[in-house]
């Protein structure tokens, strides 16, 4: 039941992000009366410069989802490659790759991104890239240990005997067996990336030209949303983050738990 709920929500959020232009009641950059309470015309009120908060929220899903999913795709691909090659070829290559992984694991990632963002002009693409390039390590470890198991299986050995090329074996024999561990890992990476993006935006390191949910919270706080008790302003983007992350994480965990039962 938990995962069906999660699946429906994830699909819903993705649809909202794709169809933002059609479903949002206003243009998020249009200005109306500022600081309006929720009313018929503006269901979640307006912000300090009069933007409709609901429309901002709907369009904000784009930036948030792009960063979260984009970073997770980069991280998963990197982790998959490193883990696959490490586990398949073993030996010196494995030592080097796992050494690099261990080193990356120890980099304080968010402080590093803060430092980079302080020097560079921040954009969602930069944040996405930085998160993706720093978050592949645990995927690589998981993929590697699974590859080590799979490569010992009979059909892989027979594929080797038949003289198939390594590349062929890795991508058509081993890869399909790795998906069950990669899929939940991917979902958890989306979650971490989104939480990180929201946190970075909270420091004002977000991309003002493409407002994400995290940046909306940041604006609501500096522009007095909390002190003026305009809870609909800062609470709604926060709840959107929690809800989306919750649904994707619950999908990931239920996937993992089911997989364990099947593998038993």
């Amino acid at each position: 039941m938990l995962n069906r709920f999660g699946l429906v929500l994830v699909v819903l959020f993705v649809l909202i992000a794709i169809l933002a232009d059609i479903i949002s009641p206003h243009d998020p950059w249009d200005r109306f009366e500022p600081y309006e309470k929720p009313n018929r015309n503006h269901i979640l009120g307006t912000n300090d410069i009069g933007n409709d908060i609901l429309s901002e929220l709907i369009h904000g899903s784009r930036a948030s989802l792009i960063v979260g999913i984009g970073a997770a795709i980069i991280a998963t691909l990197l982790g998959l490659l490193v883990g696959l090659f490490s586990g398949y070829f073993k030996g010196a290559l494995d030592e080097i790759f796992m050494g690099i992984t261990d080193i990356f694991l120890m980099i304080p990632r968010i402080p590093l991104i803060i430092m980079l963002a302080a020097f560079l002009k921040s954009s969602i693409w930069l944040i996405m890239l930085a998160l993706g390039l720093l978050w592949w390590t645990s995927t690589a470890r998981v993929v590697r240990s699974r590859t080590l198991q799979v490569r010992e299986m009979d059909y892989v050995a027979s594929a080797k005997c038949l003289g198939f090329k390594n590349r062929h074996i890795i991508f058509s024999d081993i890869l399909p067996n790795i998906f069950p561990v990669v899929v939940p890992k991917f979902m958890l990476t989306v979650a971490t990336a989104m939480i990180s993006e929201a946190s970075l935006s909270f420091l004002g390191l977000g991309d003002p030209s493409m407002k994400s949910w995290g940046l909306m919270i940041n604006f609501a706080l500096i522009k007095g949303g909390l002190v003026n008790e305009m809870w609909w302003w800062y609470l709604s983007p926060g709840l959107c983050i929690i809800l989306f992350v919750y649904s994707i994480v619950s999908l990931g965990f239920s996937f993992e738990e089911r997989k364990k039962v099947n593998l038993r």
Partner: protein
């Protein structure tokens, strides 16, 4: 030997590479190197700048600068902040204790709470109470900690006035400090607990299918004693790995929670440094945090080898 040579070597290499990164970043980033090294609060005449360039060694070749950089690190010279008008290292040392006061109790409480509840959740039948606990922890797992901070601050301090709204500085009795730290620690330990809970739960779900559990029952063990006498130790191994891996993530979370509660720790320091583009402070914080993360990993490795006898043998 507590740690294998290979592991120790990796720690050293990690330290070396991350510190080198810290050297490279300000020197390759766009913008004036003087500004990148001294911060935007530094405004001086052309003559002073020339003097400083010599003092900072910017007239020397990069390799010389690099050697100087390491010399500075070993002598704890992390530069000077023109924004705070203080040596970076002394600012950080002053602020660090509050971050640690928030972080360590949270990690400890989060580990105890998360592993215990997670273990019971994986062990017991999946009834409603069990499911509700998992949902609740999953919700915390999915929340950015600073956002929880905002909500707690609003409800407990702003609305109900139970806890102080503003942050605190170094004056104050122990009780005063405790009152200020209560909400931040509550949030961070629940957040840490939620991550440990999910891993421990999954780990127990795997472990309880193993044959040694059947054998424990055959020996006459019954109910929770099977969990605590046999499964718990095995299942906690992945959690120890996780606590080490998570340390950096939790630390970052703590930094943001500090900002929400205006605590006078490293998080607020980074925030202030960021707003005034005080690069030396940012870099100094990055170095100190790196050392903390590596130390945490080192500690977790040692703890792991105490719990899992198989590791000690290999080392």
């Amino acid at each position: 030997m507590l740690l294998s040579k290979k592991k120790a070597l990796r720690y050293l290499i990690a330290l070396f590479i991350i510190f080198t990164l810290n050297f490279i970043i300000p020197r390759t980033m766009p913008g004036d190197p003087i500004t990148n090294l001294l911060g935007e609060n530094f405004i001086a005449s052309e003559a002073t700048i020339q003097e400083l360039k010599i003092e900072l060694g910017l007239d020397k070749s990069l390799s010389f600068q690099y050697l100087d950089y390491w010399k500075d690190i070993f002598t704890l010279h992390l530069g000077y902040s023109y924004h705070f008008n203080q040596k970076v290292i002394s600012i950080i040392f002053m602020r660090m204790k509050w971050t640690l006061a928030l972080l360590f109790p949270s990690i400890l409480l989060g580990a105890i709470l998360g592993t215990l509840l997670g273990a019971l959740s994986g062990w017991k039948k999946n009834n409603l109470g069990n499911k509700a606990t998992t949902w609740a922890f999953l919700a915390v797992y999915s929340s950015p900690p600073y956002f929880l901070g905002i909500i707690f601050l609003y409800v407990f301090s702003f609305k109900w006035g139970l806890f102080p709204f503003k942050g605190f500085y170094e004056t104050g009795t122990f009780l005063d400090v405790l009152q200020h730290l209560f909400l931040p620690i509550l949030i961070m330990s629940t957040f840490a607990a939620s991550r440990n809970y999910m891993i421990m739960r999954g780990s127990v779900l795997i472990e309880k299918e193993k044959l040694y559990v059947v054998y424990a029952r055959a020996k006459g063990l019954y109910g929770n004693s099977i969990l605590f006498r046999h499964i718990f130790k095995n299942a906690s191994l992945p959690v120890i790995t996780l606590i080490a891996l998570d340390f950096g993530f939790l630390l970052s979370g703590a930094l943001f929670v500090e900002i929400v509660f205006s605590m006078n720790g490293m998080g607020t320091l980074i925030y202030e440094a960021l707003l005034s583009r005080d690069y030396p402070v940012l870099q100094g914080c990055f170095l100190i945090i790196t050392i903390m993360v590596i130390a945490a990993n080192f500690f977790a490795d040692i703890l792991y080898s105490f719990i899992d006898p198989r590791v000690k043998e290999k080392a």
